[in-house]
Symmetry: C2
Subunit: 204 residues, 2 copies
DNA sequence: CGACTCCGATACTAATCGGTATTCGGATAC
DNA sequence: GTATCCGAATACCGATTAGTATCGGAGTCG
């Protein structure tokens, strides 16, 4: 334990609260209580209300932090985009450093993302933030595959959207039923969509 | 109002409770209360506990009914699988007969499905039912595209999985941000995956 | 060193929820 | 027609929850 100043201490505690909220909201959903979150962070509810205005405020802050981090991670997560290292945005952080007993880290990430999606669909306060994050993510994917998916910007955006969609849709199937969705199919799909990138484009 | 016998009446009320649960669980998540659900069905909580054992039991029954219906719908939802009528499993019932003020029917369906997915990820009681429903859905998709996606059963299963994944992943993006994901991209992706079905298969 | 500040712990409240016990009323059986 | 049955309404309970009020104590500044 290092001695910390007041402001430093609060930022540290706030971060630990967000970490706890990330775990508990992913694993128990919105019904995770503030007492649980605070206790998981080694603090009490008093700490919560000195850093956040309400429970929904935690969701907002967590969404900003998490979606910002997800976009940043993506920049590193596409090594060369050859056969094996496909695009992984939704399955980011998939190095699988899961703590004992809990769900794997990538599963936790996906569950949190879908929880965010549902919150964004229901609450118009949350929606624009989530939309923005999705658009940034697609833009990152587009940057990553710009050299392989042709120069046409419209086709490039489409390919990026399809790749992100496949990453999401395959992960939803694979995370809950791994044996039905071999990991290698990610790469297969990647090749299929990149390989025939320019074919379906008919001027409208 | 027709006069109904006792048993008939209970089945009718049970169905109305499931209808209400479908709406409220989709739009307010698991924190939708039993009183709300009962009131939305024009009944009281007493009716709930004479038809269901617990709140989770409602989820189970709804999941069975909904996923059974989804699989059945799929059989009709792929007219000829030519360019425009792609595979729609996740976006089933997409004729968009949404009641006034509420979310479109297909959005409600998707939200409910993801709520189910999260419940299945968290609860091992729910998980096998959801896995089974996903597998049946993939099998249906495979049947629908069997004539176009080659005779190799392994490739066929893969193509069905990728198509379902794309349907899910594109819908998640499109439902919350329609202008970023044109509807025509569904058909484009369909063509891409069907067109190059046999290419990515390398014996492992 | 001493007064002030402010973050976080503690104590508490009003409201809500899932579930249970009991009662009510119409359909069923005879 | 009357007794019985059973599904649904009502009333109620313990437990939990988000949010508030208050207090203590460590860090800050003069």
């Amino acid at each position: 334990m290092e001695r910390m100043g007041r402001r430093e201490r609060q930022q540290y505690n706030r971060a630990r609260l967000l970490d706890a909220a990330q775990r508990l909201l992913a694993q128990r959903g919105w019904s995770a209580s503030l007492d649980e979150i605070a206790r998981d962070a080694g603090l009490t509810k008093g700490a919560v209300y000195s850093s956040f205005a309400s429970k929904e405020d935690i969701l907002m802050a967590l969404l900003d932090r998490q979606l910002g981090a997800a976009s940043a991670e993506l920049a590193d997560s596409v090594p060369a985009a050859d056969g094996d290292g496909t695009v992984r945005a939704f399955t980011a952080l998939s190095e699988d450093n899961s703590a004992a007993g809990r769900a794997p880290a990538n599963a936790e990430f996906a569950m949190l993302m879908l929880e965010f999606w549902l919150a964004a669909m229901r609450d118009e306060q949350v929606r624009p933030r989530y939309i923005d994050a999705l658009r940034r993510t697609r833009a990152r994917v587009a940057d990553q595959i710009a050299d392989q998916a042709g120069p046409d910007p419209e086709t490039l955006r489409r390919t990026a959207t399809l790749l992100l969609g496949l990453d999401i849709g395959l992960s939803i199937q694979r995370l809950i039923d791994p044996e039905s969705v071999p990991e290698s199919w990610y790469a297969d799909a990647f090749r299929m969509l990149i390989g025939s990138a320019g074919e379906g484009a008919d001027a409208s």
